[in-house]
């Protein structure tokens, strides 16, 4: 990648993932999540997510889920890579993440987790906080930006006019440096949206957990 692209990537993804999880939402179309997919040696699909991955000319390392939305062709073709988990307590995304965690994989990027039913999207995003609790480093890459779970005081990479939203989970004493609109102790989701990076990094001070969304593109 060009140096400029490298800076952009660091400003949305704070680690190099060991594995990518492909969800059941809209298959990615943005070059960033697609580049991460192509760079990864371990791509785990949530059930039906495998159909879209194969259609895009790629091949899953594993397919995890209850197997009910996998096409017959893919079920036959990848029968040796399907890991069936039929319990109803967790969704396919969590099954895939738990499967990877059990293999000792700690740094995971999720793609294809948004789009389609909005309650699935909200559920998938909030599950990032659970994976963080499991001791994993996770980030969700959509077609517009990334969601990264965070806790307490943290420093984030960015670039001028990168758009940022912060969603408060249970944090108090929220403050910020390097954002256009200083953070305060808010609770509603909309109150932390539509912020902007002023330089090449920013810092959030807090006690507790929150979710940081950053766009791939600067505001024009």
């Amino acid at each position: 990648m060009y140096p400029e692209k490298e800076e952009r990537l660091q400003a949305v993804l704070p680690f190099m993932p060991e594995a990518i999880v492909v969800g059941n939402g809209d298959f990615p179309s943005h070059p960033f999540p697609l580049a991460m997919l192509d760079a990864s040696t371990c791509v785990v699909c949530c059930d039906g997510g495998a159909n879209a991955l194969v259609e895009s000319g790629r091949v899953p390392s594993w397919i995890v889920g209850d197997g009910d939305s996998l096409s017959e062709t893919n079920r036959v073709r990848f029968h040796d890579r399907i890991h069936r988990i039929s319990e109803q307590e967790t969704n396919d995304q969590t099954k895939a993440v738990t499967f990877l965690a059990a293999k000792g994989i700690r740094r995971i990027a999720l793609v294809g987790a948004t789009g389609k039913r909005e309650d699935h999207t909200l559920g998938n995003i909030s599950l990032l906080m659970e994976y963080q609790r499991m001791g994993l480093e996770v980030a969700m890459l959509t077609d517009y930006g990334s969601f990264v779970p965070a806790a307490d005081t943290e420093e984030f990479a960015g670039f001028p006019r990168q758009q940022v939203s912060v969603f408060n989970v249970d944090a108090v004493q929220l403050r910020s440096e390097g954002l256009r609109y200083p953070l305060y102790d808010f609770h509603s989701w909309w109150q932390g949206t539509l912020n902007e990076v002023t330089g090449h990094s920013f810092r959030i001070q807090a006690k507790g957990r929150y979710l940081v969304y950053r766009t791939y593109e600067a505001k024009k």
Copy 2:
């Protein structure tokens, strides 16, 4: 509409809207939000939302926002229907809702509010609670289902195998009747997802505010 469709509509939209707000997200493609648009005599577009509405062969009653994402053609064509509000404290969706509230309109459906940037989607959804605080009846219609803000104990229309998710805002003592998985005092967004209506209505008991998502289609 056919009686069956009428039942489906009541099971996602608890009131007949006096006005529809068209957001800056993905323009609707599902027949329900499109039917609501066509049935309404008052369609207010958030700025750029007007471009998509006009492209679909429809005409806005009003265009509200800062006017920066409206096409030149539409700016000229609808110059007498543009209501410019350039303040930066609220987003275009809230400007449109506030504009309608000032005209005495109390029952508002929102379409085109999801899709595109996910932080905008989350912000727009959470703003429903603010509109409820303003004394308005609001519902957001997406391509998959509806979000309706609720408080305390309420009764909801539904149909067998309709998919339901409940997002807790600040409610306690959450209980339910008529849902496949009984509600409990949860906090994370994912914990209230993937529920299902068992009959033709359900009841949520609570103290405080929560958001109810219901799909248009029954689970197959």
